[in-house]
């Protein structure tokens, strides 16, 4: 009887605490009308010895991280996310502070800024900032009210990847992913943001992240048509690569990272940007408000945005580096293929944004659930 009373009292206590308490982050998120510059840590000081980050696959590859660890003594611990929301959720788990850095794409970066979980960056401590492509220095997805919250890192498009041994002529339209001829041989991302791709490519939406309910319904119907053709919806890059390697899939929507990895594994694959247009992502490094290792964090940001390391990152991922000085490092041919200095190409890609209206992300996520069934 006493135990029951104790449990009841505890439950009541939990209720009271949780119901009354509001997230303290809310108070910090209001953009202060004070100075728009902030003082960062001394980047020449000794690092804290450790760095935790939640990132996309390929952003802490051994080929360049080993050099960083040797140079700075900061041991890198990286966790991967399969989607922007997963990265956002992980970064904020337990009140934030678990991770020092995240490589947020343009959709998650604004959410991070608005929710007050990222710190303003001290541009004077970002040694490669001046060499970043002009359109990427202070873009609206990582700079708000003149305050710099992110450092642009790399960008890329969501491309169509296919197995050249099976599909001998290069496809030029996204409709190939909806062709019954390839039933059971297709893979697309398990991510509600795919709705934007269909809106752009088949509904001609000029702003694919701001679509109304009618368009969302049409897109959902199209995706349901595709459902029976999809072998598996991939979550991590390795899923995509395993499917291609085992020949379970010959066609898919993916990232240049996959094309790179599969080619290295000896597969005859290629990627194309079909005529209907592409969505993409532009990633920024962001620092947690409660980062435990800010010195190591700044050191890493400066390390991976240096021309030499940007070239190494491209070797691993195939994405386009933000630092213009990496162009001569990769050579003219590759520089052109990657469009490093091509600002007009950059502007053609519809970068990830978090849909808020007319339809919001929850509506997209629920629609996506009905597609998968």
């Amino acid at each position: 009887m006493r135990r029951l009373f104790l449990i009841a009292a505890l439950i009541a206590g939990v209720f009271a605490i949780a119901a009354c308490g509001s997230d303290s982050n809310d108070k910090k998120s209001t953009t202060a009308a004070g100075a728009s510059t902030v003082k960062g840590p001394d980047i020449n000081a000794k690092g804290e010895g450790q760095l935790n980050m939640v990132i996309w696959e390929g952003y802490s590859d051994e080929s360049y991280v080993k050099g960083f660890e040797a140079e700075t003594g900061c041991k890198v611990k990286a966790v991967f996310a399969g989607s922007s929301d997963e990265m956002f959720t992980k970064f904020n788990a337990g009140g934030g502070g678990q991770y020092d850095l995240a490589s947020f794409s343009g959709d998650a970066s604004l959410r991070a800024i608005k929710s007050g979980s990222v710190a303003q960056l001290d541009v004077s401590k970002l040694t490669n900032f001046k060499d970043v492509a002009p359109q990427l220095q202070s873009p609206e997805f990582n700079t708000v009210d003149g305050k710099q919250y992110g450092l642009s890192f790399v960008w890329g498009a969501n491309v169509l990847i296919y197995n050249k041994d099976v599909i001998t002529t290069a496809p030029d339209s996204w409709s190939v992913l909806y062709d019954p001829q390839y039933k059971g041989k297709i893979t697309v991302p398990d991510n509600p943001i795919q709705i934007a791709d269909v809106a752009l490519q088949f509904e001609g939406a000029a702003s694919p992240y701001a679509i109304d309910q009618a368009t969302l319904d049409k897109v959902t119907a199209k995706l349901k048509e595709q459902r029976s053709l999809v072998k598996k919806y991939w979550v991590l890059a390795t899923d995509f690569e395993d499917l291609f390697k085992s020949k379970a899939a010959v066609l898919g929507a993916g990232w240049s990272l996959m094309t790179n990895d599969l080619k290295k594994a000896g597969l005859n694959v290629a990627e194309v940007i079909p005529k209907e247009g592409v969505t993409g992502w532009s990633d920024s490094w962001m620092l947690s408000k409660n980062a435990a290792h800010p010195i190591c964090a700044y050191k890493y940001m400066n390390y991976v945005t240096s021309p030499k390391v940007q070239a190494q990152v491209t070797d691993v991922t195939g994405y386009t580096p933000a630092n213009l000085k990496s162009c001569p490092v990769v050579g003219e041919e590759r520089c052109n293929a990657l469009h490093i200095t091509d600002a007009s190409y950059y502007s053609k890609i519809k970068y990830w944004e978090t849909p808020t209206q007319p339809t919001n992300y929850k509506q997209w996520a629920d629609a996506w659930a009905t597609v998968k069934g």
Partner: protein, 270 residues
């Protein structure tokens, strides 16, 4: 024991409370405003999608439990009553040792086995049963069921083994003396005495399948199960309160199953 209950109960209460709140779509922060919208969505939303997912998961869990009973019983019988004591210990170890390895590894192994270039397909093609590798073995509900049945099998074998081991030889002799054949003995003597073990094993397997999201993600296709749907809501689909509502539904189902099992007296014999 008291502290365990406290932490466990507190976590469950928080889960229940979260299922009555909202989440801000943009900042992903929980808004502490009471609403029954999540449960409305659960029972009526998306044309009954969530109820379909629930039904599918319960069906799969039931099938996997039945498969495991069918596989575990003969094995447990052999271990408990036929095998020599030396072999009994080795078999026991063989059943338990896989549990020492990472479950992720074992599920991944099934991905390799069932794949187009995997062990099973190679075997079927080499023996001429199939002309070419089948893509129907992986990334569907079938492959999830096969994987689950294998991975949770030790949890079914052990309770049944315990129950069968306890049956005195004299019971079986008495049954034979009274003129009962093997089938009658099984039906009237062995199975009723083994039933508590079967139910205990079923509780384990059923609960583990209802909540699992790892196997569906690694070897499943597009169709969702409850565990996967909940996991998505805490990740890519970013809707924690709705995920909490789904989780509460899972808990209530399992509690119902436990209540039914309790009446059979199985839990006293664990």
């Amino acid at each position: 024991m008291g502290w365990l209950l406290v932490f466990y109960v507190v976590a469950l209460v928080l889960l229940l409370m979260t299922s009555f709140w909202r989440q801000d779509v943009f900042t992903a922060k929980l808004v502490h405003e009471w609403t029954t919208d999540n449960y409305k969505q659960l029972f009526t939303g998306q044309d009954g999608l969530w109820l379909r997912i629930f039904g599918r998961t319960v069906l799969l869990a039931t099938i996997v439990t039945l498969i495991d009973v069918a596989l575990a019983f003969p094995l447990a019988w052999f271990m408990a009553r036929i095998a020599a004591p030396r072999w009994r210990a080795l078999l026991f170890l063989a059943v338990v040792v896989p549990l020492w390895s990472s479950i992720l590894l074992r599920i991944f192994a099934w991905r390799t086995i069932l794949g187009q270039q995997g062990l099973l397909n190679t075997f079927l093609v080499d023996t001429g049963i199939l002309g070419k590798p089948s893509s129907a073995l992986l990334f569907n509900e079938r492959s999830i069921a096969i994987t689950w049945a294998n991975v949770w099998l030790p949890f079914m074998v052990l309770p049944i083994f315990t129950a069968l081991e306890k049956i005195p030889d004299s019971y079986l002799e008495a049954s034979r003396d009274l003129g009962a054949g093997a089938l009658r003995t099984f039906r009237s003597v062995i199975f009723p005495l083994a039933l508590p073990g079967v139910i205990a094993g079923s509780i384990f397997v059923f609960s583990l399948t209802m909540g699992d999201f790892v196997a569906p993600q690694l070897v499943g296709g597009g169709s969702q199960v409850l565990g996967g749907a909940i996991k998505d809501r805490f990740g890519v689909a970013a809707d924690v309160p709705f995920g909490a509502a789904l989780a509460t539904l899972t808990l209530v189902t399992l509690m119902g199953f436990l209540a039914l099992s309790r009446r059979s007296g199985a839990l006293e014999n664990l």
